[in-house]
Amino acid sequence: MLLTEADGKALLRAADIPTPPGQLVRAPIAPEIPGPWMVKAQVPAGGRGLAGLIRRADTPAAVEDALRALLGATHRGHRAGACLIEQVAVGAEHYLAIALDPTGYGVRLLHRAAGGVAVEAGGRLAGTRLPPDPAAIEAALPGLLPPVVVPVAARLARLVLSRELALAEINPLFVTAIGAVAGDARIVIDLNALPRQPALAARIAADPDAYPDAIRRHENGFDYVTLDPAGRIGLLTTGAGLSMMLIDEMAAAGARPLNFCDIRTSMLRGSPARIIAALGWMAAASELRAILVNIFAGITDLAEFAGLLAEALVARPVAVPVIARLVGRNATEAAAILASRAPGVVLEPDLTRALARAVEAAR
């Protein structure tokens, strides 16, 4: 998961990598640090500069104007609950990143003496493969980088390895004769490592504005991501890839899916709690018109799932059509259970037709 710039910079500072003087604000106020300033919306997504979410301000009044414009703005599905005000930094703009290298089973060092929006992580720069070992990396760096960048890169590598990061990118890194300052921070963390990274876990938990999906995942044990708050079709599905594919196919048919969902039927363990939670989030969406249930049960007993779905629909009734497509073990028994205990649910065994019915119901 991508961290906000402010959280990424907090990690950098903890690793002794300097960042410009700055303050994180959640209301339009005058800056406490000397100017001129950059005002930056805090959303965990790229392309902020091109979207106008990073603005330069030369007077305190201009800072407040920028804050009024940027606080609450949305960008690629994320809402900016906070802005970072920073003193403008100077220096040559470099690009520096340490990324996990899945094919080399190590890390990749990426550096260019010209940074800026044109340079993207991973793609355009080949970089240098290094083993996942801080001592070996430090020994290699002087041969790979300008002397002033070496200490920053060594600290960045140690940060990646100790915090189990997937990517730590600084772009731009402002380089002068006496040192280097991180102008931005793009840090991708590994949610699978969070149980043994308590400092990172605490940081995520502290900012529900920036990380609603991760917090929801942690609290409920499954994935539910709101894609379009004004979406009309809720998805109650298991399996990440199939859920994504259904969303793509609905979007291609002109429909507006509300959410991504991987309920993980094998982990329900006889409780309707996850289904009730997901139905509740869907019911809270203002434009909800239909719910599509799709379960391909390789292992799961569909009769048990159907019972839990019926139980959940009693505990948390929904006012829109529910179209269910259930395939796998005990599908016939599941259909009988739904017919008697949740007769409002429309069963459709063919996925293409089930999708079409959901799209139709949401028009």
Binding site: G122, E164, A166, L191, G239, L242, M245
Partner: protein
């Protein structure tokens, strides 16, 4: 190692005494997989001898492949023990293995010349011959399509509809939804190219990482030996958030499905935007 799997391949199940391990060991045996040993508290589980560790299991039974039903945090240690014991093929099904653990396991497997499939995979199968993991029987049918997928469920849907259409799979490998993993799409292309039972290859990919791009490069380098049909999920993914799978993460332009489709098509693959369109193309091949 994947190319030489057979009904005789001796298979170890690590974690066979757990709920999941015991269930799936039984289902694999019912499919015809030659399960010769398990690890856990020593004794037997449904007639299969259980040893304290992979070294003892391999020494006693000659197991060469292992399916690991270990929790994510224990998968690295269990995998290293299997490699140390001489296991040549590891299948780790756990979802949630930390990426830095995967780096270490991948380095160890590569150094030992062992093949690792996973993590976060339903496993692999040669339909009608052997199943390692828990690919659903309803979707497995012997046939001429080599199938590889990051997603379990999306591949189940593809396999199920192939079977409904009277088609099937020569070899099916779930590479898993993690970013750092064992076998990757590009590695498998050579296996499918060399397999006489495989007439065409289906790649089921998704948003995130560069695996599809690597596969495009490898496919072109192999000279596009057999038709490659691809389905890439996640065009509507939310940026900065992993879509269920740890590896399904797009940030900036990195990992975008459009780029994957562009690269695959440039290499000679055919890409489809719906499951139905993919299956229709398979039927007409």
């Amino acid at each position: 190692m994947i190319g030489t799997l057979s009904r005789q391949t001796r298979v170890l199940v690590q974690g066979i005494t757990g709920r999941m391990g015991r269930t799936h060991a039984g289902l694999m045996r019912a499919y015809g997989t030659n399960i010769v040993a398990g690890t856990g508290a020593p004794g037997t589980v449904d007639g299969v001898p259980v040893f304290a560790d992979p070294a003892a299991a391999v020494a006693a039974t000659g197991a060469v492949a292992s399916v690991l039903f270990t929790p994510p945090a224990e998968t690295l240690a269990a995998g290293l023990a299997a490699i140390e014991a001489g296991v040549r093929l590891l299948v780790t099904v756990a979802e949630g293995v930390p990426a830095h653990d995967a780096l270490r396991l991948g380095r160890a497997a590569r150094a030992a010349g062992a093949v690792w499939v996973g993590a976060s995979t339903p496993g692999l199968a040669i339909p009608g011959v052997i199943k390692l993991g828990f690919l659903p029987d309803v979707a497995l049918r012997p046939g001429r399509f080599g199938l590889m997928s990051k997603s379990g469920t999306l591949s189940y849907e593809v396999g199920y509809r192939l079977a409904e259409a009277g088609l099937g799979q020569s070899l099916w490998v779930g590479v898993g939804g993690d970013s750092v993993k064992g076998v990757r799409f590009a590695d498998l292309l050579a296996v499918f190219a060399a397999d006489p039972a495989t007439e065409a290859i289906i790649l089921v990919g998704e948003v995130g990482g560069t695996e599809e791009e690597e596969a495009a490069e490898a496919y072109a380098a192999l000279g596009a030996p057999k038709p490659l049909l691809a389905l890439i999920a996640g065009r509507a993914a939310k940026e900065g958030v992993a879509m269920g799978h740890a590896g399904a993460l797009m940030h900036g332009a990195a990992g975008s499905p459009d780029e994957k489709v562009r690269r695959l098509e440039a290499a000679g693959a055919r890409c489809f935007s719906s499951i139905a369109a993919l299956i229709a193309a398979c039927v007409s091949l």
